[in-house]
Symmetry: C2
Subunit: 235 residues, 2 copies
DNA sequence: TTCACCTGGATTGTATCCAATCTAATTTTA
DNA sequence: TAAAATTAGATTGGATACAATCCAGGTGAA
C-alpha cells in the first residue's frame, strides 16, 4: 500500500468492521493521528473516504462516528444481498462456470464437508469455516464477471460488526445445512439451471440473514447508542 | 451545504455525471482549486470522496480520472439495478403502499399520460418526462423503507454519462410503452401482488437497460480512452 | 541508431499553522 | 431557582509550505 492515507483507511476499516471501534464511537482526528503516528492530514482523508463508503456518519464541524445498524437495517441489507447473490448465481449458471471457479468450488465443498462432520468446535475451526463460507460466495460472484455487482455485494458485506456477530451462529446443524445449500447451489450452477440457482442462492442468503437478524436483535446491537461516546471507550 | 469540501463534491459530482468531465478525463487538483476558487485541501477531500463513491479512478502519486464504463459494464449495472428495483417493488407491494406514495404515483401517472400523448417533442418536454420517470422510480424505492437498498440503487444510478445518454431514446413509442409499464406496476403494487410487481419492475428496468446499452454501444462510449487526457480538453 | 541513465518540471502527499465552529461549563439576570 | 447569555476550551475546516514521487525530455555511451 502506497500512501499513508491508504494505510490508515485499511487500518481503520478493519477495526470498524471487526468491532474494535463500536457503533456510535466517535473518531477523534488527533487521537487517531497520534495513535497511528501520522499527521492529521492522512487521517482526515481516511475518515472522509470511510464516510463515503458508508462505514461512518459525518456531521460537518462535529466529526465522524461509527455507523450503527439496527436489526431492521440488517434485515434490509440481507434482503438486498439475497437478490444480488441470486443474480450472481443466475448469471454464472447462464454463462457457464469457468474452469478455475469450478475447481475452487469443488475443493471448497470438499473441505467444508470434512469440517461439517466434526463434533468438536474450536475457535480455529470456526475461523476455517468462516473463511470457507466467505470464499464459496466470493468465487461465485467473482465468476459472474460483473464488477458493479461485485461492488454492490461488497458494500452489503461491509457493515460494522457483521462479521463479529455472524460468529455466534456456528452450531453443528447450521453448518451442515449450509453445506447442503452450497452443494445444491453448486449443482444447479454446474448444470446451467439458472432459475434454480437464483432461487437457491436467494433463499440461502435470506436464511442466513434471518438467523443473523435474530442474533442482532437478541444482542441489542444498534439500539441505545450513548451520545458522544469516545474512541477510547471502544477498546 | 456547510463546508467547502461538500460544495466541491456537489459541483464535481454534477459535472461528472452530466458529462462535463468526460470519462477518462484527468482531474488536476490545482486547476480545479483555481477554477473553484478554493485551496487544494477541499478539492483533495472531494476527489477522495468521489473516488470512494466509484465515480473516479485513483492511482497513488498520479491522480484521479473520471471512471469510464464500457457497454458491458452498463449491462452489468442494469442487471443489478433490475433485481434491486424488483426487490423494492415487491417490498412495497407486500408491506402496502403508503398513502403519500400512492398520491405521488397517481399524480405522476396522470402527468406522464398527458406527456405521452403529445406529438411534438421539445427539449423541455424531454426534461419533464425524464423528471417524471425518475420520480416514479424514486417514490417506489423510497417507500420500501430500506435505506441500504436505496443506497445501492442510488449507486447504480450514479454512473458518468448515464443521464446524458439516456437522453437519446425518448421517442414517442418508447414513452408510451414506459407509461404502460408504470401503470401496470402501480396496479400490481396497489393490489399487493408482490410477485407480479417484482417481475414487472425487473423487466421494465431490464428493457430500459437494453435500450441504453444499445445506444452506449452505438456511441462507442467507454472505448478508446486516450491516456492522460486533461480536464481542459473535456469541456 | 538505440538503449540506458539522468535531470528538470510538474503534480501529488504530508505536515503544520491559523481560522471557524461547536460544546460545555460558568456567570449573569429575571 | 431557572433560564438565558457568555466565555474558555477543544475540535474540525482550510490554506500554505515543504517533501516525495512521477513523467518527459534530453544526454550520453555502446
Amino acid at each position: 500500500m502506497s500512501t499513508r492515507a491508504q494505510t490508515v483507511v485499511l487500518s481503520l476499516r478493519d477495526k470498524i468492521l471487526n468491532g474494535h471501534y463500536a457503533p456510535g464511537a466517535r473518531l477523534n482526528e488527533i487521537e487517531l493521528s497520534t495513535a497511528l503516528a501520522v499527521s492529521r492530514t492522512p487521517v482526515r482523508a481516511a475518515l472522509a473516504i470511510l464516510a463515503a463508503e458508508g462505514l461512518l456518519d459525518y456531521v460537518p464541524n462535529s466529526g465522524y462516528v461509527v455507523r450503527s445498524y439496527t436489526a431492521n437495517d440488517i434485515e434490509g441489507v440481507y434482503a438486498a444481498r439475497s437478490v444480488l447473490e441470486g443474480l450472481a448465481a443466475r448469471t454464472v449458471a447462464e454463462r457457464g462456470l469457468s474452469s478455475g471457479a469450478r475447481g475452487l468450488l469443488h475443493q471448497n465443498l470438499t473441505e467444508t464437508e470434512t469440517i461439517a462432520q466434526r463434533t468438536e468446535w474450536t475457535e480455529a475451526t470456526h475461523d476455517t469455516w468462516r473463511r470457507l463460507n466467505e470464499q464459496f460466495h466470493e468465487v461465485i460472484f467473482a465468476d459472474a464477471c460483473n464488477s458493479h455487482l461485485c461492488e454492490l455485494i461488497e458494500k452489503s458485506r461491509s457493515i460494522p460488526l457483521l462479521k463479529t456477530v455472524k460468529f455466534r451462529w456456528h452450531d453443528a446443524q447450521t453448518v451442515k445445512n449450509s453445506f447442503t445449500d452450497h452443494a445444491e447451489l453448486f449443482d444447479a450452477i454446474a448444470r446451467g439451471q439458472s432459475a434454480r440457482a437464483e432461487h437457491l442462492a436467494r433463499e440461502h442468503v435470506y436464511q442466513a440473514g434471518r438467523r443473523l437478524v435474530a442474533n442482532w436483535r437478541k444482542a441489542g446491537i444498534g439500539e441505545n447508542i450513548s451520545p458522544r461516546q469516545n474512541v477510547s471507550d471502544a477498546a
